[in-house]
Symmetry: C2
Subunit: 691 residues, 2 copies
Amino acid sequence: MQPVVILSFSAVAAAFAFAVYLYFWVKKQPCENKRILEVSSLIRAGADTFMKREYGVLARFAGAAAVLIFLLLPEPIWNGRLSDHIAVTAAYLAGTVLSAIAGKIGILVAASANGRTAEGAGKNLKTAFLIGFRGGSVMGLAVLGFSLLGVIAVLLITADATILLGFSFGASSLALFAKAGGGIFTKTADVAADLTGKVELGIPEDDPRNPAVIADNVGDNVGDVAGMGADLFDSNVAAMASALVMSQALDGGLGANTAMVFCYAALGLIASIIGIACARVGKKGNPTGALNASTYTTTAVFLALTAIFTCFFEGFQWRIWGASAVGLIVGVIIGITTDYFTDDSKPIVKRVAHASRSGSAFTILSGVSYGFISALPAMAGIAVSALCAWLLCAPLGEGYALFGIAMAAVGMLSIVGMIISNDAYGPIVDNARGLAEMGGLGEETIRIADELDSAGNTVKAVTKGFAIGAAGLTVISLLGAYMSEVNESLSALGKELLTGFDIMDPTVFFGILIGASIPAVFSAMLILGVDKNAQRMVEEIRRQFREIRGLKEGKEGVKPDYDTCIGIATDGALKELIPAGLMAIAATVLVGFIGGPSAIGGFLLGNIVSGLLLALFMSNAGGLWDNAKKYVEAGNEGGKGSDAHKAAVTGDTVGDPFKDTAGPSINTQITVVSLAASLLSGLFAAFSLFG
Amino acid sequence: MQPVVILSFSAVAAAFAFAVYLYFWVKKQPCENKRILEVSSLIRAGADTFMKREYGVLARFAGAAAVLIFLLLPEPIWNGRLSDHIAVTAAYLAGTVLSAIAGKIGILVAASANGRTAEGAGKNLKTAFLIGFRGGSVMGLAVLGFSLLGVIAVLLITADATILLGFSFGASSLALFAKAGGGIFTKTADVAADLTGKVELGIPEDDPRNPAVIADNVGDNVGDVAGMGADLFDSNVAAMASALVMSQALDGGLGANTAMVFCYAALGLIASIIGIACARVGKKGNPTGALNASTYTTTAVFLALTAIFTCFFEGFQWRIWGASAVGLIVGVIIGITTDYFTDDSKPIVKRVAHASRSGSAFTILSGVSYGFISALPAMAGIAVSALCAWLLCAPLGEGYALFGIAMAAVGMLSIVGMIISNDAYGPIVDNARGLAEMGGLGEETIRIADELDSAGNTVKAVTKGFAIGAAGLTVISLLGAYMSEVNESLSALGKELLTGFDIMDPTVFFGILIGASIPAVFSAMLILGVDKNAQRMVEEIRRQFREIRGLKEGKEGVKPDYDTCIGIATDGALKELIPAGLMAIAATVLVGFIGGPSAIGGFLLGNIVSGLLLALFMSNAGGLWDNAKKYVEAGNEGGKGSDAHKAAVTGDTVGDPFKDTAGPSINTQITVVSLAASLLSGLFAAFSLFG
């Protein structure tokens, strides 16, 4: 273990050092335009306000959860040892705090990178790209560094992987609310701004007269930067935690398999650093190409480094390396198929744009259809990678097969630093485009910012597919972690152990059907939240245009009241995010106490299967509609202002909460439910109606 | 067995006699308006053309399938006995033929009842209701009679329930294509007629100037009458077949449990006859109430009769009666919850109508959300009824638990005669409304026809929920039938038997993920089929209005070319229905040969779970949008012509293929795949890559 621990700490140190270097590099870039400085500080203030209030609410929630955890986990406190309870609770709180810090850092750097990227775009594409990408990379490195640091610290201190599940639960419960809250905020503002601005008044996107425009930009930050960061922090920690639960069982403590998990995670961090450092685009180059090239570089470096270490380290198994490699390659393939369904240079987007000529109903119908179809390759990819990992590792002995699946997830997530960097790049350049418009930087600058933004959108679709795929593999391995946790409890109680979850067992089946409904209800609650909230904001925007004199005409010195809009988005998001999250957890608890441990196995399966299907459907359909609208706006099928354009805008509006609120939040919902099930397994084993 | 056989044959004879009586009663009603006679013969001719061509295509498909079945089932012909092969093939063909005849009868009577209902509405509500309902009942009784007759004949002749699976497969493969083909036809015409007529030209629904109006009315018949009849014929046969496979295993031949299946089915038929005979509405009464009252009557009669027979027959078990009762009651509850989400006197429809004020994107978003939420109660209902049936029957001994679930499905489907009657009533009165409009029967008549039509729509949503619930329970028991079939093959091959399908087995998991994707892809193919086809028809309608002089103005003697529109709907439906059906079967075969019998178990589970979820979502969201539009048209939220109305029409257009094409076809897709898996289980047991 020792060399691996040193390697891990060095990797974390390198990541933090590089992140600090990049942060100051970004800060050093010039930002002088007054209007941009002003707007950019408005955005930062808005984001701060939201984050402060959100974290305030979450702190109370986490506090309440911590009390429950302290009393009930790993078993009711009157049966257990006090030190265990303190450890789980502390790990839980550490998970929430680290996740929050990572999100905060992302917002911090994104808010200073956006204005600088806008001014960079005034110089040339190359500079602007570098500022945007490096800004995003700070977030990527922070997330990856904190997750590895947290996991290794918890494991070295407690030497107990169950405690790690507590840490992971902290990370994912925060991610659930950050993703859902951020998602509701961002889409409230986006939908309301588009509906009133683009559709009703016909003013351009990011027009400073629109009272929702600052809220829209704030939303990009809190939804895509902080939310997505928390989401991938959570997936990454969960993947490591479930792999470590199994490796500890295999090693009977800390051994070669555990070392392998850390070693691979550390090498993923190093590969991401190299990939980030290599990202470049020529003066007239193609930013999408540059982002993809760094992803492929990271992938290749990771595969090479892990092969070398597997070759030289004692006890590292080639078959497990194979499982990681399969996971990573399938992740990249899922990304590519997602791209096929959402890229506007490919046929599907063109077909949806063409269908829009016949009216918005056809935009919706064709988008829904292709969204459904797009789920198949990703589902098949996850299925095949799980099967391959299993077949590769099963010959190593009992327990290795599931460990193989966990390592496939670790492999898929190894390049997550790169993925987050690409992802956080998106909202930075999106904001930069808005700032260029509001700062009046001229057409050429806006054109460059547009090009950067479009690359961000394309890459975003791919990274979302990747994130969902990774979550899929992770939760499969969490299912394994759940089984080993529940068996520990069952053997302590002297009850019969579970050997699996048989579909033909009625309690399992019962759990499956209920579990499968939850992601649908969860998504519906979030979408209705956006819907309700956006309608409130639409009323407010209409009011401002009606009541503030000279606003519509753009009279010099007349400003809309941005803050009220930010306030509406904030209040609504906080009000709507809690019930959806609690519903998912409550359903888990209910099914567990009714059907017992087997029902929960089924519940998790149903949840994973329908969750993956719906998440893929919604993310891809949303991306597809977004790009179909952009394709029409680029002058196709009648171009801007045509009936096809109106229909495409309707598609985009429907797609917004699909792809940025519900779709990606489902990931986190699945992880939270899986971890809650593992943590509560002792209670379900002891008390249940039919279990 | 003997008394039960006599009872069954008597019930079948009574059903047929009653159906013939009702048919002639309908025929006796006056129908004298020339215009109605003319249009109604146009509708009949259109339906005939479509059915002839559809059955022509299906006959070729069934012939090819019969050859494959003859060569390969129950095992490759070079291993088996010739007589078995002949029996399975003959049973398969009998299943397709009976299903086709039942559909044909429905069309026949619906096409003569529609005009008479329209004229009856000229007299009063009471008469018109009776004609419409009794017309529908002929179909209901025919379907139920043929299904019981077919099942009992096959079982008495062959005494082998596996052969019965062949019969059931025949019924369901025909149903798959009838439902999908009819569904594509009806929605092609409906969507195209609405888009060009209502939206573009602002002429009323069913305006005779619209070239698609006859095709639209034909569609109601081929989609809702023939298609829904084939669907429920199939579910009913499949439920009996799977119950009989298990009862034979329990009885070791024909015994008390087998007798119980037949007895309950016969009593269901008798209860339906009584329910149909009792249906009445006062002169100013409420038709929805009348339809629901007969459903409740049938339910009560069934429960009472089965209780009496269970009391007096030797070997009939009360616990099994309990399972049937649970199934039936849960079916009714599912119907009621569906009603809550789709009835325009309840809050959900009003909310969606209200959201339409903000634009069509909000109509879609809120409809999708409530559609998702509406799946939960039905899924939970199915889960709970399966769990209760299991818990009730498990104490009777090994094998009884699954038999209990099968009997819950039989119980739920026992009132299917009543359900089909209600369902076929819908298109008859829908047609009648159109005929009243086209025949110029005056406003009061149209108002009465409207009232009848609205009751049809409300009841349709409920029956659809019921049909999906019944299919859900049926396929769970088919999963049990599949396991006993596959174990028979495995034991013949000397391989290890399956004890269940463990989620943690990677081949099972592989199957689940692929199986879950299939209903999504299947629905997408059907929706895209409607989409493509409707666009072709829209072009044609626009052409006619452009080129036929005086058509738009409604000049005396100028008629549109109805036949070309019927031709487009027919050709398109036949072209699009085959690939979707084949895709589902091909996926089954592929997964079976890759992953073996366990993977197929998982595949079926994934298919059931995601299929139920999507079917409920799409049927309910579609019904919701339909009624939200009607609610706006009734003068709410701005009424006809307002922006809210336009948005609501978009919702309805999206909902049409959801609720009438994809949603209800998924049922059949699941059944077909389940039966194909059972029939092919011998092949999968013998040959597979990783099984």
